[in-house]
Symmetry: C2
């Protein structure tokens, strides 16, 4: 429940891998897939999508592969997830354009949209670099949680 897809997981793992190996010019999808034992072709498609949105640079041919197009610290988990899984919607209305069937009567849509924004904020605050440096990420997440509960109490 409320889980992100395996594709997004794969994408984050791959980006983390690339962030951890800055010395290598480019890494093939197959290499990464082998490392983590994930389906190579599926990962390939994920990386292709990340390339299309500009998070990765690709290079075909021998010794080709992928590389980060910008520093790991400037790539947020939100960008990655958005690129792979599409827009983030906590509500069950899948699309913004065509409202879901219970559009007229649904009363929780608006409040939940706020929650949605908060979650997006959390994801935006996590970068690929944070995935590498566990301590920093842990600290940040802890801070965020604490501030949130604090906010809730003081209301």
């Amino acid at each position: 429940m409320l889980r992100l897809t395996k594709k997004a997981d794969y994408g984050l793992m791959a980006l983390k891998y690339l962030a951890e190996h800055p010395e290598v010019v480019s890494v093939s999808a197959k290499d990464i897939a082998d490392t983590y034992r994930i389906p190579p072709q599926l990962l390939a498609k994920v990386l292709q999508r990340l390339t299309k949105v500009g998070l990765l640079r690709s290079h075909a041919g021998m010794n080709g592969g992928y590389a980060l197009s910008k520093p790991a610290g400037t790539i947020s988990a939100f960008e990655v997830i958005h690129a792979i899984d599409g827009p983030l919607f906590i509500t069950s209305c899948t699309k913004g354009s065509k409202g879901c069937d219970l559009e007229p009567s649904c009363t929780v849509k608006e409040p939940l949209a706020r929650v949605n924004e908060s979650i997006a904020g959390v994801l935006r605050s996590i970068s690929i670099y944070d995935l590498v440096d566990h301590e920093t990420a842990a600290q940040r997440a802890a801070d965020a949680s604490q501030l949130i509960s604090l906010t809730s109490l003081t209301q």
Copy 2:
């Protein structure tokens, strides 16, 4: 993507409805379902689960139905979602007991668990009452988001 299920949506709508009608002793699943045009039997099952975890009190027989078992302000969105959809996991490892297939190699599990906690925190800070009183909820969510980005910047 990252959306909660319709069941959870239905549950929240129903609880909101009950919170908005405190004068009525008990409301039947059918009444709520009719109001929002959602499948009565499905809503019934959702309400039954909410009853089982103690968020609602049920009363069988004629003029029976459901009522909140405690003040709307003390019921968090997290409780509701957890009751209906089960434990909240952002990662694709569905269950805590049996790790997913990429358990040994997966490197993003631990960092994402922190993100997961942050999101749970946000949901815990929203109560059913907040769904009724839009202004308060909006303000709270805005505060939470702002604090989170602030945290991210100062890291």
